[in-house]
Every structure is written in structure tokens, then in C-alpha cells.
Amino acid sequence: MVQAAPPAPVPSSAPGADRVRTDRTEPPERLREKRRADRRRRLTVLAFLSPWIIGFLVFTLYPIVNSLYWSFTVKRYGTPARWVGLANYELLFTNDDLLTSLGNTAYLAIFGMPVRIGIALLAASLLVRPRRGNGVYRVMFYVPSIVPAVASGALFFFLLKEGGPLSGLFNLFGAEAPLWFQDPRWAKPALIMVGTWALGDLMLILLAGLVDIPTSLYEAAELDGAGRWARFRHVTLPMISPVIFFVVLTGLIGVLQSFDQAYVFSQGAREGRLTGEPGGSLLTYAMLQLRLFQDGRIGFASAMAWVMFLITFVITMIMLATRRRWVHTANEEWA
């Protein structure tokens, strides 16, 4: 409600006290003025909110309703949608490409995230206590994460290519580098490598969490004779677990929507339709959705988008429901 001045007190014995109180106590011209002021305030709020209201209606709500409807139809741009019920969703779970893309995305989440989080945690824990030179290291670890995904994709495409710098380094040690972009077994590890290079954001978030751990806990552990590993295992990990929970959750959602670097790699490996070369090994969920859109299969693409939302939603719910199991809280009552 738009703020209103408190009504003037009215003696309960006054005639008409059961009616709207201000009617009696204020002269009509003041009352009118107040109403006008109220309306003006309401209009001010509306005017200030209007960019968001219009944007929400046009660019969010309308598209949501549309794509939800289209997901139950066969739809191409420029033609009316034809209702097919759940057919798109049924097709989704029997479609080979879709299962491949889900598999690839799960692979990237299961193998990529622990590597990323592990190395980010290692870097952060080495930088948590104030030491000279920390600033330089922090900048060096962070800068790769401001490189746009397509640029780091192009960069690693060059670094890892046959005869590129990395294979040169392999040769120095008398080893043979894998053919990252021809061998379906090695394409996803290459993708994980780029993602790991860009772990700066993650490191900063973990660092902020580590800084908050009271040093007294470490001192107490040390007095108890806990070594480096024991302190990490029994102090750092439990104390940092809420932050890890957060980065795992946002990381999972991010993997589901990611495709920039996979796009650069696979188009470099073989230009053309988004098939996730080599051999479908880079076909991520978001890439397949984009392909369906580009092929003009709008109903199917909409269904895929909503399944993506559903997966995000379910993952979030499962993680929140099981939060207590892997997030340490000082007092379980308050968890």
C-alpha cells in the first residue's frame, strides 16, 4: 500500500464513528488533497516499475506461455501450431541424440565439476592466509575466467590441435598427445580442461568462504595434534561445505546450459550442422536444443527447453532436500 498518514483519533462517542473515520475528522478539501497525493504516489511507483513490468510481460511471461503451449504442438515459424499432446515429450525419451546429449552433459558434470572445484579449492586454500605475493597469484588464477567462452574455446582449439603447442610439449617428453578433436574419447576431457582453466570465479567464491573460517578452529585442531590433512578434512571441509553446496548447485545448472566451447570445438572439427563432432561426443543438451531450433522444429525445441527447466528444478529440490547430509552446520537445530 502506498504510505498513508495515520488517521486522526476519533472519540468513540462521536456520531458516525463506525464509518470511515477520516470522513468526519478532516475537512473535505484536505481529504481530496490526500487522495490525490495517494494516487500520485501510486503512479510514481508504477512509473518507476514500468520498465520491469513491460519487460516481464513481453519478454518473459508471454514467451513462457508460448513455449509451454508450443511444447505440446508441432510448430514451425510462420505457421500455426498443431496440437499433438505429449508426443514431443514421448519422442524426447526415445530419441538417440537426446540420450547422447544427456549422457555427454552428465559426463561433463560428473567428471568436470570435481576437477574444477578441487583445483579451485587447492588454489584458494593456498591463498587464504595473508602472505606476500598472494595478490599476484590471485590475479593470475582469476584472469582466465574473464576470457569469453568462445575465445577460450578458440584458444584451446589451437593449443590442443594436432601439432599444436601441447602436442609439442608432449613430444618433448617423448610422449604422443591424444587427438583431442578427432577421438571421441578425448573431446570431452579437452572441454573439461578449458572449463578448469577458467575457474577464477569459483576460486574467489571459495576463497571468500575460507576467509570466514575462524582461525581459532585451526589452532584448536593443531593443539589436538591434527596434521595438515586432518585439519583440512575435519575443519576446512565441514566449514566450507555450505559454499561447496552453492557452487555445485549453480555449477550443475551451468553445465546444463553450457555449449559455447563445445560449439567452437565441434565446428572446428567439422563445420556444419550441430552434431557435436567428433562422433557426437560434444553434443551437449543445450547444443541439441539449439540445433532443433535451427532446424525449425520449434515444438520439439520448446519441449526440450521445458525438460531442461524441469531437470534444473528437480536437481535444485533434491539438493535442497538432502542438504543436511552433506552440509555441515554448527547447530543442527538451526539447519
Partner: protein, 277 residues
């Protein structure tokens, strides 16, 4: 014993840090090196070129309309930043310093739109822009930013909430309208926060590939991100990674420069929100 163990710890810590730092810096090193490697050697697998050739930078401007890409990208960035600030500042003000019924509920609605994957929205947005005849123009990339995105509203609100309400009330008591309070008091006081949002939006618009990739098609309309991907694909066929790397340096350098000027904003922003925008 304890001293030698501590020394071992210091040495161990530094060797891990230096090792990691080298691994993180090497890609940049090879990017710069390859960008000045003569074309003849770029096609072979030599690690260190016999001479440096800055001509790659000129060559890449000849090969693709890079000047156009830069111009388009800057235009998109400028409009996205302007649109975001102009639209999000009043909205964030209404969510922080105006009182109205339902404010809490509506704010939760704003935040919940951040949960929606972009994939759910763009399929239908594409049809809207197509009907408006905006395909192959930058309009679909910049017009939505004039209608307040949830992330920037959230960030600006956080900054606005730190401003003392008494100062604003004093101005109101002096007869200032809400618009005047916003433009004369809140905006000047919240400049660092507004700068932070502007920088995040710049970063996002400069780096974005998804939107430009689906909306722009003609060569001369592309942004740097899309141009780079196309160049990379073509260069992969021809083995001209020196050109891709020269273009990458041009693409990445401005961001690194911005980072060094606004380091504090970056680091605080990332830890504040957990994302980069």
C-alpha cells in the same frame, strides 16, 4: 625439526602456486606467440617461430571485416549498458526506497525469473523479433536491456539498501519529488554500485555468443564473438591459427584492460553474487 618442516611447507606451498600460475599463464603466452608467428610456420608444428610477424594483425583485418565487428560490438555494448542503467535504476529504487503493498512478493517474482533457462524464452522471443522485422539487426540484442533484467535489479537494490534512508527522507521533507530524490541523491551516492552493474553488463554484452549467433547472419553485422567463431572454423580448415589468435588477442585485450582498472569491482561483485553476470 619443526623449523625444517615449516620450511618444507613454505617451499611446498610456493612450488604448487608457481606450478599452477605457470599452467594458467601458458595459454596466454601461446596465444600471443602464435598471433605473431609467420603464416608459413603457423601451419607447421614449430613451438618457437624463427621471426615475429606483426603483419598477422593487419592480415586479419583484411581477411574478415574486423573493424565492422569491433564497431558493432561496441555499439551493442554501449546500448546494453545504457539500457540496463536507465531501466534498472528506477526499478531498483522502487524495490529499496519506496514503500508499497506487495513489494516483497513482486521482488520474489523478479528473482524467480532468474531461475528460468534462457532456452525457455528465446524460442518465442525469436518469433517476436522476427515479426517486428528485426532479424539480422542488433535490435533483439539491445532492446530487451531497456526493460530491466532481474540480475541488475537485484545488484542495484543491494547497493541502494546501504544508503541511509534519513538522507532521502530529509530531501523529501524539503519538497523533493521521488524522481528528484533518485536523480539528485541516490544516483550520485550509489555511483560505485552503478559502475559495477555497468561493467558486468559490458562484460556480458562483449562476450555473449548465443544471442548474436541466432539473430545476426550477414557478415558485416556480426559481433566479435560470432566473427571469431566463424574465423576459427574457417582457419581450422586452412591451418591459419595465427590469424585466429591475432583476432582473439584483439577480442580479449579490452576485457583484461577493464579488469585491471576495475579489479576491486570484479572481485567484490563475484563474491557478492557468486556469478559474473
Amino acid at each position: 625439526m619443526s623449523r625444517s618442516r615449516r620450511l618444507l611447507g613454505v617451499v611446498g606451498r610456493h612450488s604448487v602456486l608457481i606450478g599452477l600460475a605457470v599452467i594458467f599463464a601458458l595459454p596466454f603466452f601461446f596465444m600471443l606467440l602464435q598471433s605473431v608467428t609467420p603464416i608459413a610456420e603457423a601451419k607447421t608444428s614449430v613451438l618457437w617461430p624463427s621471426s615475429f610477424d606483426l603483419g598477422n594483425y593487419a592480415e586479419v583485418f583484411d581477411r574478415v571485416p574486423l573493424a565492422r565487428y569491433i564497431r558493432n560490438t561496441l555499439l551493442v555494448c554501449a546500448l546494453v549498458v545504457t539500457g540496463t542503467i536507465v531501466s534498472c535504476v528506477p526499478v531498483a529504487y522502487a524495490f529499496s526506497h519506496l514503500r508499497w503493498r506487495g513489494r516483497g512478493v513482486v521482488f520474489v517474482l523478479v528473482l524467480s525469473t532468474m531461475m528460468l533457462p534462457f532456452q525457455v524464452l528465446f524460442v518465442s522471443q525469436y518469433e517476436i523479433f522476427s515479426n517486428l522485422g528485426w532479424l539480422n539487426t542488433i535490435l533483439p540484442l539491445v532492446v530487451p536491456s531497456f526493460f530491466a533484467d532481474a540480475f541488475s535489479i537485484f545488484l542495484l537494490r543491494q547497493f541502494f539498501l546501504t544508503l541511509p534512508a534519513e538522507t532521502l527522507d530529509a530531501a523529501r521533507a524539503d519538497g523533493a519529488s521521488e524522481f528528484q530524490v533518485l536523480t539528485r541523491i541516490v544516483v550520485p551516492m550509489a555511483k560505485p554500485g552503478i559502475m559495477a552493474v555497468a561493467i558486468f553488463q559490458f562484460l556480458f554484452a562483449w562476450s555473449d555468443f548465443f544471442g548474436p549467433n541466432i539473430y545476426l547472419s550477414d557478415e558485416e553485422n556480426l559481433t566479435l564473438a560470432v566473427g571469431l567463431v566463424r574465423l576459427n572454423t574457417a582457419a581450422a580448415r586452412l591451418g591459419e591459427s595465427n590469424l585466429t589468435m591475432a583476432a582473439s588477442v584483439i577480442f580479449v585485450m579490452p576485457l583484461i584492460v577493464v579488469f585491471f582498472f576495475a579489479q576491486k569491482v570484479f572481485i567484490e561483485g563475484v563474491t557478492l553474487t557468486g556469478t559474473k553476470g
